[in-house]
């Protein structure tokens, strides 16, 4: 159940992100939209690994490997999400820095003034 | 052309050399003079005119140097007839096939046209028109010859291939006729080109022209029409005369 809710939420978040990405003119807002999209995907990954009532997939005292396999949520998506978040962070940072340089060049933070290359 | 020159020219017109005087014993036909006095009697303008170089080539002094190479510089030569019998046959053929150069040099040209008509029908005498001097044997000077036309007459005459014959049509060709004192009309044609037959009158009727042709034919058959050879013989005399009146020469001294 939780998985379904999370999945729906994830897609909603992604849709929101895409909407932001597509409809805003301000570069920073576009980047925010992009981050939302990213987060949505991360949520989706987590949702797919979720097991209702599962514990965190941490091997600790009292829970054997068998307990972990039967009781914990899938650890791999979590691991993946961690990586993805890091990467997303890096990309977001790069995007922001590029936005700054674009602003420096064209004195405009709006996307319409930053589309010199075309055709 | 400056009027002064021509005015001067009119009063200084030289007497024809020796036996070249024109008489007109018969108002219908006049035999021409036997030509100039020959070599050594070259008339010069300002003492500078030379027609022939030392190699006996044409000097072509009036041509621009870059044009000289484009013109043949061989002077005309006297070409002896064949022996009597054969030459008589050829002369018969020449006389029976008279091709007129279609060049109406003056008002008399109008008298040529009726010859083609059914009334006069020159074809029955073996006479017909020809559009190019190369192929013609008779040059009919149709009346007065202005200085301007004279240049073209000389050129066309020289371009005809010998034996060639000249008919002077009308009084103007004999003595200038009614234009005798005009500033630009040649008074005596045979000072410039050898004339075989004169047809006096102003204007002579086509019948007179026909009569002239008949006369010409008789003369050809007798071997008397050696105008081309006479021209070659007295070449320098003719040239001097021509050049005296034609100022903007601008062509070779002999137009092959």
């Amino acid at each position: 159940m939780m998985t379904q809710i999370l999945t729906v939420l994830a897609f909603l978040l992604m849709a929101l992100g895409v909407w932001g990405l597509m409809s805003r003119r301000h570069l920073i807002r576009i980047i925010i939209g992009f981050s939302l999209l990213d987060t949505g995907v991360h949520l989706l990954l987590v949702a797919f690994g979720y097991r209702s009532g599962g514990t965190a997939p941490i091997l600790s005292d009292g829970i054997g490997v068998s307990g972990l396999v039967s009781g914990a949520v899938d650890p791999i998506p979590s691991a993946l999400v961690l990586t993805a978040i890091v990467i997303g962070l890096a990309v977001t940072a790069l995007m922001l820095s590029f936005a700054v340089r674009m602003y420096a060049r064209t004195r405009s933070i709006y996307i319409d003034k930053n589309k010199e290359l075309k055709w | 052309m400056a009027t002064a020159d021509t005015q001067t020219r009119r009063y200084q017109e030289p007497g024809a050399p020796g036996n070249a005087a024109v008489v007109n014993p018969d108002p219908r036909t006049v035999t021409g003079p036997a030509g100039g006095t020959g070599q050594g009697d070259v008339q010069t303008v300002d003492g500078q005119l030379r027609i022939l170089t030392e190699e006996l080539k044409l000097a072509n002094a009036d041509l621009r140097s870059e044009d000289r190479g484009n013109f043949c510089d061989h002077p005309p030569e006297v070409i002896k007839p064949f022996r009597a019998f054969w030459e008589n046959f050829l002369n018969w053929a020449r006389s029976e096939s008279l091709w007129i150069l279609g060049f109406g040099t003056g008002c008399g040209a109008i008298e040529l046209r009726p010859l083609m008509t059914s009334r006069f029908d020159m074809y029955q005498y073996g006479i017909q028109g020809r559009p190019t001097p190369r192929q013609s044997s008779v040059f009919v000077i149709g009346g007065y010859a202005s200085v301007k036309t004279m240049k073209r007459i000389v050129r066309s005459y020289e371009q005809m291939q010998g034996p060639k014959f000249v008919l002077g049509l009308g009084s103007c060709t004999i003595n200038g006729g009614m234009y005798w004192d005009s500033y630009n009309t040649v008074n005596r044609l045979d000072h410039y080109i050898p004339v075989d037959v004169y047809i006096a009158g102003c204007m002579p009727r086509p019948e007179a022209l026909l009569a002239g042709f008949v006369k010409l034919k008789e003369m050809i058959k007798r071997g008397e029409c050696e105008g081309a050879n006479r021209y070659a013989e007295n070449f320098e005399w003719y040239k001097a005369n021509q050049k005296r009146i034609i100022k903007n020469w601008d062509m070779p001294d002999y137009n092959w």
């Binding site: - | 096939s97 029908d121 074809y123 020809r130 291939q161």
Partner: protein, 310 residues
């Protein structure tokens, strides 16, 4: 072998002598007929002979160069060759000429030989009018060539051969067998083309006297002109003999003299036709005659060919 060659040479001389004299007289006669029509006496029928003698009797001549010198030679060679590749009289050994060397195609292309030589000679004269005349002549030639070729192809298709002798042979046996009646469309196209080929009015723009003096031979004089005059006779004769062979049953009779007579009559009529048309029409401009030939005559020619195909 030697005897054979000598015999052939003799025959050739006879054949050429007949055609040359006949054609010269024909030209003279035709001029006289034209004069009569115009109410004149006209020149003697032997005037062409005198003119040729006169031209050759000129004491001087000028030459513009080798090709100019050879031009009339090429022209006359073209005329002679054209005649010699046609069997003039069907069934006659003497008048079969050198028709064994090639067929109709050879003849059609050999016509170019003289044209080319003359055009080269005229070209070397350096006279612009010669070149203009040649340009006009060649242009007009290609134009009348098309209906002519179509009619020839129609004939070749009809008789299944390109050999002139066989085409004539197929027309024997009464005038209804003549191609003129068995293949009238081809005949019409061919005979219209013949008008262009003979260069008379209305297709005389090539020489166009008084306009470009006289076209290609403007500079030709003396003996050169004499050769051209000779060729005019022979070449005309050759063409008339060709058309007689193609469309009008050729000249055939067991008696050679009668056969010659037949040839004389037929070619005379063909020439008369050209003369009448020439006397009746004014001159076309070059582009007009090109358009003319590529118009109705070509359509007729195509019709003749198509009729052979169906």
């Amino acid at each position: 072998m030697t005897q054979m060659i000598l015999t052939k040479a003799l025959y050739t001389v006879i054949s050429l002598a007949v055609i040359t004299n006949y054609a010269l007289i024909l030209i003279g006669t035709m001029a006289r007929i034209r004069a009569k029509v115009q109410g004149r006496v006209g020149q003697p029928f032997y005037q062409p002979y005198i003119d040729i003698v006169k031209s050759n009797a000129k004491r001087t001549s000028i030459s513009h160069g080798v090709m100019f010198f050879l031009g009339p030679v090429f022209r006359l060679a073209g005329g002679l060759g054209t005649y010699l590749f046609i069997p003039a009289i069907f069934g006659s050994v003497i008048f079969s000429n050198f028709s064994f060397s090639g067929d109709l195609l050879l003849m059609m292309y050999f016509i170019f030989f003289g044209q080319l030589g003359m055009a080269l000679g005229a070209g070397e004269s350096g006279h612009p009018h010669s070149a203009i005349g040649v340009a006009r002549g060649l242009a007009q030639m290609t134009a009348f060539e098309l209906p002519f070729v179509l009619s020839v192809v129609a004939l070749a298709a009809q008789y299944g051969t390109l050999s002139i002798t066989e085409i004539v042979a197929a027309q024997q046996g009464g005038f209804t067998h003549w191609a003129a009646f068995t293949n009238p469309l081809a005949m019409i196209a061919g005979m219209i083309a013949f008008l262009g080929m003979s260069g008379a009015n209305p297709f005389s723009v090539v020489v166009a006297p008084q306009e470009i003096p006289i076209g290609p031979p403007t500079e030709m004089q003396s003996s050169f002109l004499g050769m051209l005059q000779t060729n005019r006779a022979i070449f005309n004769g050759a063409k008339m003999v060709l058309f007689m062979n193609l469309f009008w049953g050729g000249a055939a009779h067991e008696n050679l003299l009668v056969a010659i007579l037949i040839m004389v009559v037929k070619t005379f009529l063909i020439y008369l036709y050209v003369t009448i048309v020439g006397a009746s029409f004014p001159r076309f401009k070059t582009e007009q005659s090109i358009r003319f030939f590529l118009g109705v005559p070509t359509v007729i020619g195509i019709a003749a060919v198509v009729l052979q195909m169906v």
